[in-house]
């Protein structure tokens, strides 16, 4: 939290955001079985869900979803779904060391940075948390049971290969930047990396504020200041496609369920398509914990739906204004850099041919 002022500093350096850590954050999760809503822990038994004036479970407040638990379970952990307390402490220690950008020598490479590449942000910029989720799960993905994204469809594989190649060349300092449209949506400040939908922990700004009024829930994302307005009155969905899709919500017991379709492009989850059907569930587990579970069903890209659970912790801090586009000097820098590199190559070629 000490780095929250970064948000207000805006993106003085949006730079190649694609290079930022994959979903890393904090939280005391309960450990729900698979894709089911929260089960109260023994400690929470005396706690009852607060209600709004109109009788809905009160989910309001600022929620922080930092964690260093990865979206996908590291392959080497195999079938291990939970850490023991000791393993968790070891993992946190190692992961905090491994993630620390200040300890990575660009010449040597490290983490997912290849040797001789670019480590675009130093540690100062990160606010990814330093703890794994309270459930001690080894991944945020709870289904498939191996904690990993399901197999790609042929189209999904094709897109994944293209992304990997692009990421590699960006990491090596040669971003594809004929135009701004070649850059990822988050670098253009059109959508936030972690803001969703669905929300997934990222490098910084892992905060939302929930508002509830009769008939509505609003999710205000700190990342790229997006207010997702969700009507609860069962109104029909129109034909308009939007960056954040079109969401409708309803209550199932004490769980808020949000159903989103009509995406304009991919969601914030890498590899998803416009055909994504997203179901999100919010359940208060105790006074300080909001469980966020989402299921991505995208038959264009994945061979089966998948589900992740992210615990969010109550925060007393305000949401900061993250004026991303307004401070996006990096986009001009990336494009100008690419043009300069082309010019240099052209001149080198001319010289060589003389």
């Amino acid at each position: 939290m000490s780095h929250r002022f970064l948000a207000a500093m805006a993106v003085a350096v949006v730079i190649a955001v694609a290079l930022l850590a994959p979903p890393p954050a904090t939280g005391q999760a309960q450990s729900p079985a698979k894709a089911t809503p929260a089960k109260p822990t023994p400690a929470a038994k005396t706690w009852t869900v607060p209600r709004t004036a109109d009788g809905q479970p009160d989910l309001q407040g600022v929620w922080d979803y930092r964690t260093i638990t990865p979206l996908e379970r590291p392959k080497e952990l195999g079938t291990k779904a939970f850490f023991t307390a000791e393993e968790a402490a070891n993992y946190e220690k190692q992961e905090n060391q491994r993630q620390n950008r200040d300890l990575i020598d660009p010449e040597q490479g490290g983490l997912f940075y290849p040797p001789g590449g670019v480590v675009p942000y130093n540690e100062f910029w990160y606010d990814r948390g330093n703890k794994i989720v309270g459930s001690k799960r080894t991944s945020l993905i709870v289904d498939p049971p191996d904690g990993r994204l399901p197999a790609w469809t042929p189209e999904g594989q094709k897109q994944a290969d293209l992304r990997a190649a692009e990421q590699r060349s960006t990491q090596l300092g040669h971003p594809h930047a004929d135009s701004w449209e070649d850059r990822p949506l988050q670098e253009r400040c059109l959508v936030g990396l972690n803001a969703g939908p669905p929300m997934t922990p990222g490098a910084y700004n892992n905060n939302i504020q929930l508002f509830q009024t009769p008939g509505y829930v609003v999710i205000l994302n700190e990342m790229v200041h997006d207010a997702r307005i969700i009507a609860l009155d069962g109104r029909p969905r129109g034909s308009i496609r939007q960056w954040k899709g079109d969401s409708r919500g309803h209550w199932e017991g004490d769980t808020l369920v949000i159903d989103t379709t009509n995406f304009k492009r991919e969601t914030n989850v890498e590899g998803s398509s416009v055909n994504t059907h997203l179901i999100e569930r919010f359940t208060r587990a105790d006074a300080n914990t909001l469980l966020y579970e989402f299921t991505v069903d995208d038959p264009t890209m994945w061979t089966r739906p998948w589900t992740a659970v992210i615990p969010m912790s109550k925060s007393e801090d305000p949401i900061y204004e993250y004026a991303c586009h307004e401070g996006n000097y990096a986009m001009a820098g990336i494009l100008a850099g690419a043009r300069a590199a082309e010019k240099a190559a052209e001149e080198a070629e001319k010289k060589g041919s003389r």
Binding site: R4, F5, A8, M9, T52, A53, D54, Q60, H176, A177, D178, S179, W180, E181, D182, R188, C189, L190, Q209, F211, Q212, T213, P214, Y216, V218, L220, V224, H225, D226, A227, I229, A231, R235, P236, G238, I240, Q242, W243, K244, P318, I319, Y320, E321, A323, H325, E326, M331, A332, L335, A336, A338, R339, E342
Partner: protein, 280 residues
């Protein structure tokens, strides 16, 4: 005779009463308010809903005649509509240097107006841009979400919390004065404007907004602007805001970054002899 006179007087009085009732049913801002707004669960006037200004203040907050727009090809479709100003007395008390700056802004509108680049519009401009906004009113926080640029701001009710930094949308603290929501907005940067006519402010801007329901479907919106670096005295704007009555009215996305990128980054696009840039 006496009876006929009396009945004529009575009829006249009745007509006057009817006129009075009819006028009363269509309140205009500025007259005494007797309308009693529905309440939220905590007993406050209910401001929830989707609202929009219906004026040309975003073109120019002062009186302005119609004039030709900046894009020849768009002719009558995108020229500037005339409008009565929303500034009280139509006078903005600029300090001399600021008046010169305003004039310069107006002359360089197309390159200098932050709206054109899809920057967060600030307050009060966000309120009267030609896009709807939605109020979400809770006892502790009131969220105002604007369609333009996905801008929003949170109003902290009865809070003593200070802004952590200067911002585009300001730091809003609210309280109720009778049936009026009063919002005190500070901690602005100096980057936003009031309109497309170059009216501007500094980072010393202090805005006080007053939102009052005057009918089932209208709010009275009054704003006091104070900025000692730019103006010689505080001044006011005032306008009604109207409820969007469409069935299933919904705030849609206007993520305008993508509409400003060509303007902002176009010269940095790869120029190819085959005419094959990176984007379509």
């Amino acid at each position: 005779m006496q009876n006929r006179l009396r009945s004529a007087i009575f009829a006249g009085a009745k007509a006057a009463l009817i006129v009075a009732l009819w006028v009363g049913a269509v309140p205009t801002i500025g007259q005494a308010q007797t309308y009693k707004a529905p309440r939220t669960a905590d007993g406050k006037p209910d401001l929830n809903g989707i609202w929009e200004a219906l004026n040309t203040a975003n073109w120019d907050i002062q009186d302005h005649a119609a004039r030709m727009g900046p894009v020849v090809a768009l002719g009558a479709a995108f020229s500037v509509p005339a409008g009565l100003g929303v500034v009280e007395g139509n006078d903005i008390p600029y300090l001399p240097a600021a008046a010169a700056k305003k004039k310069e802004n107006a002359e360089h509108w197309l390159t200098a107006d932050p709206e054109i680049k899809c920057y967060l519009p600030g307050v009060p401009r966000a309120t009267y841009m030609p896009y709807p906004f939605q109020i979400f009113q809770t006892p502790q926080y009131i969220l105002m979400a604007y369609e333009f640029a996905a801008a929003s701001r949170t109003i902290y009710m009865n809070s003593s919390q200070k802004s952590p930094n200067d911002t585009w949308m300001g730091w809003s603290v609210g309280h109720w004065e009778g049936d009026t929501l009063v919002v005190d907005v500070t901690s602005f940067n100096d980057q936003t404007w009031f309109d497309r006519a170059g009216n501007f402010h500094s980072d010393a801007l202090h805005v006080v907004e007053r939102y009052t329901r005057i009918s089932p479907d209208a709010l009275d919106y009054e704003v006091t602007i104070e900025d000692p670096k730019v103006f010689s005295r505080p001044w006011k704007m005032r306008m009604p805001l109207y409820r969007r009555l469409e069935k299933n009215a919904q705030l849609l996305e206007y993520k305008c970054v993508e509409f400003a990128e060509e303007l902002m980054y176009g010269p940095l696009r790869k120029q190819s002899s085959e005419g094959k840039g990176g984007s379509k």
